[in-house]
Symmetry: C2
Subunit: 133 residues, 2 copies
Amino acid sequence: MSAIPALDFGKLGGIVPVVTQDALSGEILMQGFMDREAWERTLEERVAYYYSRSRGRLWKKGETSGHLQRVVEAWVDCDEDAVLLKVRQEGGGACHTGYRSCFYRRVGSEGLEVVGERRFDPAKVYGEEEPPA
Amino acid sequence: MSAIPALDFGKLGGIVPVVTQDALSGEILMQGFMDREAWERTLEERVAYYYSRSRGRLWKKGETSGHLQRVVEAWVDCDEDAVLLKVRQEGGGACHTGYRSCFYRRVGSEGLEVVGERRFDPAKVYGEEEPPA
């Protein structure tokens, strides 16, 4: 990767929203944020890095679980203030709750309905450690 | 819609990120934000509303262009701080630049490569008016 495209990090105080999509199925796996370092390392290493707002630091996706996201393509939106990653998700799922996608609940007439299926047991993957978010 | 699921609007000062996906093709059309009013009206009227950060107000998608987004499904993520909308996009495209998706540029070895195709002429759709973002 010779050129790292510029992004507008100023609108949210140093981060931009990131949409992460399964490159094959098109399923949305998660929505996160990147700071400049996460963006650069994602493009350089071709695995997804995010900025963890809860921890206030760089977060390599899968650093604890081993469930890396291999970057197939990266896209930038019209205003250069959002990123779309198309990835190959390693391991069972993207969500720290054990679901394949963080979006496993659909709005129904009675409130939220769980639609997704658990792919792994978070207690076995993360142990006592609080997974990043 | 009898119950409006609660969202955590506090992390970004009153808004949450929204991912908008074509319900049929799975293509990501845009990434935007919603405040509480946008979330409620989206579920009540089944068309997408956002919060326009540039205008600082509620924004009904397609209010100028007529290119409404009909909501097929709404999803909430694990932390209840992000929304996924699956929509039927009316008109030619979702992006104010005339492309079907706001993500029409892919990161390549030489920088950003335009991959998407223009579906409408923004000057004809918006005239002199600055489209919302």
